[in-house]
């Protein structure tokens, strides 16, 4: 397919090359339409990931920090978290958040799509688990997902690869769950446990959350994108979209963006697809004001930027006599428990959480975290307490379902801006009483498991501040144009050629890492676009 000149209109313009943008690009590629994706970040170079160097732990706190405000990259945009107890975590580049994610890859449950019907809170999705099931499977194949079939907490499914190793951490914690008679299962992980589609298997480097030098972790720059580009999709990096422009016919007619040199460019397009996550997407749409849409494009409902959902995270860390070798192996993927996933009102809250067992950290992070928490002091006792913790800890993350609330928002910051002068995103978020109770319950149960598994000491954090990984709900899906931004297949109610395929269209959040569901949704929407090409804008 010939490369498209900048001034030539394209058929489909995708904004964002992360989890959902890659999936939708790959799926639409077989239409042979002219497809361009604009990504504000760069292609990543695996040789530059921290685990290539002896200073790998230091780099995790610097150029590969999970906090975009601390990374110091001009490809990021700042996010004002000052009015939120949870700070946004993201990455901008080809692969997006999958570059720094832990690759914990569960699907939402069937019940997560029917929250209103089952529990009388929030809303039902206009689609079901069954709707997405074939796309979950397709996505598992494309990404390369390792896991174990037979989890009774899911409808039947078959991960394409066997599970990644549990290690002594997983075994130790599993024994604790078994003593209590609670559910656990090896995690579904977007990490390949066997050579797969030209990639070699995971080497258990450890710190997945600063990029995978080996390529064992399935980020979309090494899964979907190579195939999408081979199929003719053009991916332009260092192109930062400022706004979507509106034609006289009320349809989106393209975008204005800044190229690598800061030059303002206008790319015309027949269809615009947003794939910028639950903060980036409302940011661009809110910045796309016109006489028809004075409050932001596709925002007649007033729902754009509202109902922001994170997954509030609590944690408990146990110290064990046994050396668990816990700094080795994928840090965020081991086993998980859904014992408290579904609603039981006797617990004092509605909905639930998953318990994600995580491994330990490297020496520097162990020492630094130990200093911050007072568990590993400097001074005479430093060595003794360090040795007691290093490779001897296992942690449980409590990942809670957050319910949609109108007052939790993404807006444009009146003062902060990115390096191109585009207003930054501002987060206003309050932790609900329901989430507080859930976190407290979860942390107490995590402590119980750790002691049952043999921990000699347990220390807990009821709310982890730097854990806003999952950015959901800010352009919700629905059948009613007055209360939702997009229809049941991701098309804007207001602008018929504008689609949203990222986490912002979630109606509710579930209590599980969302990337698998985000990508299944993107594939589902792409499939619907293909099926309806003849009357896409009707």
């Amino acid at each position: 397919m010939p490369e498209v000149n900048l001034n030539d209109p394209v058929d489909v313009l995708i904004i964002g090359a992360g989890a959902s943008g890659a999936a939708v690009a790959w799926s639409l590629a077989d239409t042979r339409m002219r497809i361009v994706c604009l990504e504000q970040g760069d292609w990543m170079k695996p040789s530059e990931y921290p685990t290539n160097g002896a200073d790998w732990e230091i780099q995790q706190h610097a150029a590969f920090n999970i906090d975009p405000n601390k990374r110091g990259r001009d490809t990021d945009y700042p996010i004002n978290n000052n009015e939120s107890p949870i700070s946004v975590v993201n990455f901008n580049g080809v692969g997006g958040g999958t570059i720094l994610y832990a690759a914990h890859f569960p699907r939402l449950h069937p019940s997560d799509f029917k929250v209103k019907s089952l529990d009388g809170v929030a809303d039902d999705w206009p689609i079901s688990y069954d709707t997405l099931d074939p796309y979950f499977t397709q996505n598992d194949r494309m990404m390369g997902v390792s896991g174990l079939a037979g989890d009774p907490m899911y409808p039947p499914k078959q991960p394409p690869l066997p599970p990644i190793p549990m290690g002594r951490v997983g075994e130790r914690l599993a024994s604790g769950y078994n003593k209590l008679g609670w559910h656990w299962w090896p995690s579904d992980s977007a990490i390949i446990s066997r050579p797969y589609q030209g990639r070699d298997k995971c080497l258990n480097l450890g710190p997945c959350m600063s990029g995978c030098s080996q390529g064992g972790k399935s980020s979309t720059d090494i899964t979907y994108w190579p195939e999408a580009i081979r199929a003719g999709v053009e991916l332009r990096t260092r192109c930062r979209v400022r706004e979507i422009t509106l034609g006289k016919n009320g349809l989106a007619d393209g975008v204005i963006y800044y190229d690598e040199d800061g030059e303002e460019c206008h790319q015309k397009a027949e269809v615009v697809v947003m794939a910028c996550n639950g903060v980036g997407t409302p940011r661009i749409l809110l910045n796309s004001k016109s006489s028809q849409f004075p409050d932001g494009l596709a925002n007649h409902s007033g729902m754009l930027g509202k109902n922001l959902m994170f997954h509030p995270v609590g944690s408990a860390q146990g110290v064990f006599e046994e050396n668990l070798g816990s700094h080795k192996g994928p840090q965020g993927c081991c086993i998980l428990s859904k014992e408290f996933y579904e609603t039981d009102l006797s617990r004092g809250f509605v909905r639930g959480y998953n318990m994600q067992i995580t491994r330990g950290t490297g020496p520097f992070t162990t020492a630094l975290h130990g200093y911050a928490t007072g568990r590993i002091p400097w001074g005479a006792d430093h060595h003794k307490t360090f040795q007691k913790h290093f490779d001897h800890v296992a942690s449980i993350g409590i990942l809670c379902e957050d319910l949609p609330e109108l007052h939790n928002t993404v807006t444009l910051d009146p003062e902060w801006a990115d390096s191109n002068g585009i207003p930054a995103a501002k987060i206003n978020y309050t932790l609900s009483e329901n989430s507080r109770k859930m976190l407290k319950h979860g942390v107490e149960r995590a402590e119980e498991v750790l002691y049952a598994a043999g921990a000699s000491e347990v220390a807990s954090t009821e709310l982890v501040q730097m854990a806003g990984w999952h950015l959901l709900g800010t352009a919700r899906m629905g059948t009613d144009p007055d209360s939702s931004v997009v229809n049941p297949w991701g098309r804007s109610h207001d602008v018929k050629n504008l689609f949203i395929v990222d986490g912002s269209i979630f109606v509710t959040a579930g209590g599980l890492n969302p990337t698998s569901t985000i990508q299944a949704l993107a594939l589902y929407i792409a499939d619907n676009m293909k099926k309806n090409l003849a009357n896409l804008f009707d």
Partner: protein, 150 residues
């Protein structure tokens, strides 16, 4: 006072250099069994020059805040002096800890002492036991199931 300049782009007086050594030894002393060096045995100045040059002036303010008696104090008094620094300016002390730990826990002798491999994780990787999946037998025996949807 002998104000000898030591060989570095960032000059410390002899007194400052001694204070730094005592302070670092207070933060991370050598282990009693001799396996682990003290932080004072490592070259913090060269590390900062290469990796965190902005912290060098801050370090000077820390050393200047230690009075001259620190030079003749006992190790216990050095500990008390460091404690006072941590109370007087917690943010500055926190940054000092960050830099000292960064230096210390990249040192090959230290990594060997704690049983960790020196150097980068890639490409050699790590071996992790696959784990005993028969531990799942009790989970399957309980026969819990996902929540049905109407």
């Amino acid at each position: 006072m002998n104000d000898t300049i030591i060989a570095t782009d960032f000059p410390l007086t002899d007194a400052q250099r001694k204070k730094l050594g005592y302070l670092l030894n207070a933060l991370i002393p050598a282990s009693q069994d001799g396996h682990m060096p003290s932080a004072g045995e490592l070259d913090l100045i060269s590390y900062l020059e290469a990796n965190a040059v902005d912290f060098l002036p801050v370090l000077l303010t820390i050393l200047d805040d230690l009075d001259e008696e620190f030079l003749t104090d006992t190790p216990e008094e050095h500990h008390q002096g460091a404690l006072a620094l941590s109370h007087d300016n917690p943010a500055r002390f926190q940054e000092l800890i960050y830099q000292v730990y960064a230096l210390y826990y990249q040192n090959p002798a230290v990594l060997e002492g704690i049983g960790a491999a020196a150097g980068p994780p890639f490409p050699q990787g790590n071996t992790v036991e696959s784990g005993d999946l028969s531990l799942l037998d009790p989970v399957l025996a309980i026969a819990k199931s996902y929540r049905a949807v109407p």
